[in-house]
């Protein structure tokens, strides 16, 4: 399988709340630090990318956030305008009023129009070789299929016209595993794992895009091996309490309870991970990123995640 960094277009998706944007930003940062001219595109335009990279707000026109790393946010109307300018040579400025309203109408009425303008812009950047790698902070699990399958959907709905003629080259890029891949981010929790398993299946059945990896975020560290756990159990036993309190200077209960919590959480997570591993095609690589015990947010945490990601990718 082609390495994640050796593709041209990588969609990063996952259930809400699993750290999708963090991982997308970390992947883009890591790629840019390894010599790839990288574009990071935020599709949902919530402004999370800007806050993670600690740059100013991102816009449809990409800006260089760091050396070799550009950031942009998707704006389907701007995408349409660009498309019209490049392909139809329509004097857009004069007519954008009615056109914008028409666009709003068509985009609302016809599923796939918004998606095709998003995917179209991304594929365009790939085709024109403006960047070595385009990393997409893609929509969450519920919407990613609609986006990845948009060119096919358009092919079914629209029989003629310019949009139709444009979908073929997009499909070529999306369907080529040398160029395009999707990575699913999850956490070792019940709902994210279940959604991931369903999504893996749907990507295979409903899209032409290759699944390059499942990235498990926020994996808790293993505190003890089995024999160490036995020692820990004795440490918690009544026989040891008095002595431990004397040695520690205070009641050790909060500290021991915290360790118990950590062990239980890790065990619950391990069960979900096992389920995930058994349900996903073993040829799909799984990458594990540790839980960050940290109070900072933003670029520092992205750098840490990027480092872990690099290790998992074998750098």
């Amino acid at each position: 399988m082609v390495g994640l960094l050796d593709r041209r277009l990588v969609f990063v998706t996952g259930k809400g709340g699993v750290g999708k944007t963090t991982v997308a930003a970390a992947l883009a940062l890591f790629a840019s630090e390894h010599g790839r001219r990288t574009l990071l595109c935020e599709v949902d335009a919530k402004g999370d990318v800007a806050s993670f990279l600690e740059t100013g707000p991102t816009a449809f026109t990409a800006s260089e956030a760091m050396p070799g790393l550009w950031a942009m946010s998707m704006d389907t109307e701007a995408s349409l305008r660009e498309y019209l300018r490049l392909n139809l040579r329509i004097p857009v400025v004069g007519r954008i009023g009615p056109l914008a309203r028409a666009f709003d109408f068509v985009a609302t009425a016809a599923p796939g129009v918004r998606e095709i303008l998003t995917v179209g812009k991304l594929c365009y950047e790939v085709r024109e070789r403006h960047y070595d790698l385009v990393v997409v902070d893609a929509p969450a699990t519920g919407h990613i299929i609609g986006q990845l399958a948009a060119p096919q959907a358009i092919n079914e709905l629209v029989k003629v016209g310019l949009i139709r003629s444009q979908t073929d080259w997009m499909l070529d890029i999306l369907s080529d595993p040398q160029q395009t891949a999707v990575a699913i981010v999850t956490t070792p929790e019940e709902m994210p794992v279940n959604e991931t398993i369903e999504l893996v299946d749907r990507i295979k059945k409903e899209t032409t895009v290759e699944l390059a990896s499942v990235i498990v975020n926020r994996v808790l560290p293993e505190l003890f091996g089995r024999s160490e756990e036995e020692v820990f159990d004795r440490l918690c036993g009544d026989d040891a309490t008095e002595e431990l309190t004397r040695l520690a200077g205070e009641d050790p209960a909060p500290v021991l309870t915290a360790a118990r919590l950590a062990v239980t959480l890790r065990r619950t997570n391990a069960g979900h991970l096992e389920h995930l591993r058994s349900a996903v095609d073993p040829t799909v690589p799984m990458l594990y990123l540790p839980f960050l015990f940290a109070r900072f947010h933003g670029l520092r945490s992205i750098r840490q995640v990027a480092r872990s990601l690099g290790e998992e990718l074998g750098f």
């Binding site: 259930k15 809400g16 709340g17 949902d44 919530k46 019209l84 007519r95 056109l99 309203r101 028409a102 109408f105 609302t108 009425a109 016809a110 599923p111 969450a140 519920g142 919407h143 609609g146 709905l157 629209v158 029989k159 003629v160 016209g161 949009i163 139709r164 929790e189 019940e190 709902m191 994210p192 279940n194 505190l223 160490e228 020692v231 820990f232 004795r234 440490l235 026989d239 040891a240 002595e243 040695l247 520690a248 200077g249 205070e250 009641d251 050790p252 209960a253 909060p254 500290v255 309870t257 915290a258 360790a259 919590l261 239980t264 959480l265 619950t268 015990f293 940290a294 109070r295 947010h297």
Partner: protein, 396 residues
């Protein structure tokens, strides 16, 4: 608009218990991945158990085990009573009755079409229209709209004393609030009528208008014709739809309805939740409570705990040797490793717990109620688990 109840908590409110007892509809919203669905189910279960009456929880996409716990597995759009045995398994005798339903978007849309269609032919044509099938099945906004629509439907039937509704994960925090309004705007838009004109009247020369020229070049005539056909069919239902969307909007703004925002204390979800809370207040909707889920327990911030943890970690060697006889473990190196791990683990979690506490303190909220639910070390996978979460919500 209906005058709003004052934002100051009247006596007796200020708890989820009180909030749920005084409302007919509770809308649970918030960012994805924070336990919104489970929270809605637990709150409804508590309201049925303690408060009484008939309580319905309308969920969107529950985890399989939650669905199992509610006895919802494999059941679609219709409400089902959660059997008393479920409560009994949690050692609870409920005062009221709990019902649960899952929202099936496609089925709900079809029901809506059947309701509004002027005649059978129109109904069948719409249900068979490829564009309709796309819109009802895939169109994201349609989920938002239909959730609110279904809420309205169930509420107007008047079978339940309280409906707790979970909201679908949205791209944009506010989509579901705006969905009815947008749907109404959409169906009544002049543009829509304008677009349909050439297909209704053959007298208009399609090619003579620049707009159609552009639209035609981009989309193709056939697709435009498909859209027009669909909307001509739909036109017979415009009035019903618009009226309905407005009614949904009124219901959401009514004093019988209250919103609760669910979040965790992680940076990104919390920021989104604050945005939600603000939007609800700005729209003059009633923000009843903010629920913070998965909050790390207080003992992690115990100052004495930190002292102990650091000592265990930093003096692991000597403590290991001293305590080895009590543990009846000969391998002191192993004890040392355990002590270091235990100490470090506390310090790790403490860092996160402290950061959470700061964020909670900084939370700017106009909600009458702020509830913190502790981090449970296992998932909710049965009814007892749900009631345990419920007890946490009730502050027990």
């Amino acid at each position: 608009m209906t005058p709003r109840r004052a934002q100051v908590a009247p006596a007796g409110l200020g708890s989820l218990d009180g909030l749920l007892a005084s409302r007919e509809i509770i809308v649970a919203c918030g960012p994805g991945g924070v336990g919104k669905t489970t929270t809605a189910a637990a709150a409804a279960a508590m309201a049925a158990a303690r408060g009484g009456g008939k309580v319905l929880v309308l969920t969107i996409d529950p985890a399989r085990r939650l669905a199992d716990a509610l006895g919802l597995d494999g059941i679609g759009n219709t409400e089902r009573r959660v059997p008393n045995e479920a409560f009994a398994s949690a050692g609870v005798t409920p005062r009221g009755e709990l019902y649960a339903a899952m929202l099936d978007t496609k089925e709900s849309w079809d029901a809506l079409i059947r309701h509004h269609a002027p005649d059978d032919r129109t109904r069948d044509e719409i249900l068979a229209n490829p564009l309709y099938r796309n819109i009802s099945g895939r169109f994201v906004q349609s989920h938002d709209y239909i959730a609110m629509e279904r809420l309205f439907e169930i509420h107007s039937e008047g079978l339940y004393d309280l409906i707790v509704v979970d909201t679908p994960p949205t791209r944009n925090a506010l989509d579901f609030l705006d969905a009815p309004e947008r749907m109404a705007e959409f169906f009544s838009s002049r543009l829509l009528r304008w677009l349909i004109v050439p297909y209704r009247s053959r007298l208009v020369n399609l090619a003579s208008r620049p707009f159609y020229q552009v639209a035609d070049r981009i989309l193709g005539t056939q697709f435009l014709a498909d859209i027009a056909e669909f909307f001509i069919l739909f036109q017979s239902m415009y009035d019903g739809f618009i009226e309905r969307a407005r009614a949904v909007q009124r219901l959401l703004a009514d004093r019988r309805t209250s919103f609760i925002v669910v979040s965790t204390l992680e940076t990104v979800p919390l920021r989104e939740a604050e945005y939600f809370a603000q939007a609800i207040t700005e729209r003059k909707l009633h923000l009843g409570a903010i629920v913070l889920n998965k909050v790390l327990p207080d003992y992690l911030r115990d100052p004495k705990g930190a002292v102990v943890a650091e000592r265990l970690r930093d003096r692991a060697e000597e403590i290991a040797v001293a305590i080895a006889p009590r543990l009846e473990v000969a391998d002191t190196a192993q004890i040392r490793r355990v002590l270091v791990e235990v100490g470090q683990n506390y310090m790790d979690y403490r860092l996160v717990a402290q950061s959470e506490a700061e964020k909670r303190a900084e939370l700017s909220t106009a909600a009458e109620t702020l509830v913190s639910v502790p981090y449970f070390d296992t998932d909710v996978h049965d009814f007892a688990g749900l009631m345990r979460l419920g007890a946490g919500l009730w502050g027990e």
